[in-house]
Chain length 294, copies 2
């Protein structure tokens, strides 16, 4: 297979994903806001374009991996955006984590041009992007999903077609709700242990074997015990994702008090300049609330 | 080994645990408040006693498995309690889930008689008790732990000596904090999915493979999707355990807002007569809050 693939957004996630697609034998046309971000891809054989429209015009599948909802709207629908270049029958695949309702809006606009859109946010961080082991949660048309699946299989391992347009973003929001609250739960457990003079490492060990066991307890629990907050997944990004969760809850008119509570820790964390730490550092805020530094 | 073992409290947990100890070749002397609870043990070869003191007098290791803090205080320190019969060098092993501070008090009282006490609460429910696969979290003296370990190995599989007296109960409180909040987190995720018109089963499937993965998502997530709240672990017991968590937090002067929030769902659940359901039915309250029945 040697389709020409477009890739827009070459940051900490997009760059290694694009490299993996080249490694799998695909021709790539790329675009990034900052020209220097394209240099490593051009060296690897990709063609640089000066706009999303130019990328879309030259490719049949166009990946986007940018920071937030307005960035996707700009890249897709803005001046010289994907919508200005995309051909009927092509598929735009947005792998950013953004608002489900904004996703449906962009998808509807692209479908007016006869193009498809998949929302395909990921979890697994930059390590998952580098190793091609991302979890990919896909929303959109089944036929489009089947067509892009071989490319998803280059990028990730746990690939689920969740439902129609927006369903991938909803699933990612669900993921972030569970991850954030499990971090907070493990943090409270370790706090209670410490305040009681009990070894948190022993508590983690005991809990891992039973119903309290989780990936978060295993990985983030250890980070908390070591006060090692090298990301991992940055608190500033988790804060952004919880904003998306809360916007969705407001649009839908549903109460998610747990998600709302843990979002407060992320606000306090980012507000105090810790946005670059791993989001396990929610534990720092829980400790700070309880007069324990570090 | 054919030590004489005492067992006090023969309810849904204690009965199968005592049966397993007999099955492993131990002589048992038993006591229960209601004489009829002792009948199946007597049939299996155990000797019935009319008081905790009588059990303690005839055995070198005395297990207790009762409902709550006041029950343990009554059995251990009350009229004709364990303290009135226990011999120097014997070990009382309380496997109930109760207050860590009350545990330390009872332990101190027993040590005045030259006896030891281990706190050894469990998780794994009646199925774990029947199958001998409980997780056991042990607090108390290392020598006493080593001496009782072969008996623990009859009852459970994941056995951790967490620390000194009370540490087992602290660990159990930590366990219940994590389990309760993970249930609430999974519930919010499934609510967001449903309100967004997205298939919760697909969300569960996708999340299981990544950082949101947990035993709770696996088991209780499925219960929520099926609205199948046959226990499992009863909401009324989880409510009691969260009371112990909140008492401990108050004694220690620490803020655990997440634990406090999920305790409110358990209060509402039990208050509306659902205490016999599995504690995954916290999801019922989350749905009810959002105007969704069942």
């Amino acid at each position: 297979m040697a389709e020409t693939i477009g890739f827009i957004g070459l940051g900490i996630m997009g760059l290694p994903m694009a490299i993996n697609l080249i490694g799998a034998g695909h021709r790539l046309v790329v675009h990034a806001r900052r020209a220097e971000s394209m240099a490593p891809l051009v060296q690897a054989g990709a063609k640089a374009c000066d706009s999303p429209a130019a990328v879309a015009w030259q490719s049949t599948v166009i990946f986007t991996m940018v920071a937030d909802t307005p960035d996707v709207e700009q890249v897709m629908l803005g001046e010289r955006g994907v919508i200005d270049g995309i051909q009927a029958g092509s598929i735009a695949v947005d792998m950013s984590t953004i608002s489900p309702s904004a996703t449906r809006h962009v998808s509807a606009r692209l479908s007016e041009r006869g193009a498809e859109m998949l929302d395909a946010p990921v979890s697994g961080g930059d390590i998952g992007a580098i190793n091609g082991t991302l979890s990919i949660m896909v929303g959109g048309n089944e036929t489009a999903f089947e067509r892009v699946l071989p490319l998803f299989e280059v990028l990730g391992r746990n690939i689920v077609h969740v439902g129609p347009s927006g369903a991938g973003q909803v699933c990612k929001a669900c993921n972030q709700i569970v991850v954030a609250q499990t971090i907070a739960a493990v943090g409270e457990a370790l706090l209670l242990a410490e305040a009681s003079g009990v070894d948190g490492a022993k508590v983690r060990e005991s809990l891992l074997g039973g119903f309290a066991g989780s990936r978060i307890l295993e990985v983030h629990g250890q980070r908390m015990l070591d006060a090692n907050y090298a990301p991992g997944f940055k608190a500033s990004l988790h804060q952004k994702d919880m904003r998306i969760v809360q916007e969705a809850a407001q649009e839908l008119g549903i109460a998610l008090p747990g998600a709302s509570q843990v979002a407060q820790y992320l606000n306090a964390l980012v507000g105090q300049g810790f946005g670059e730490l791993d989001s396990a550092s929610v534990y720092r805020m829980q400790r700070q609330l309880n007069g324990r530094s570090d």
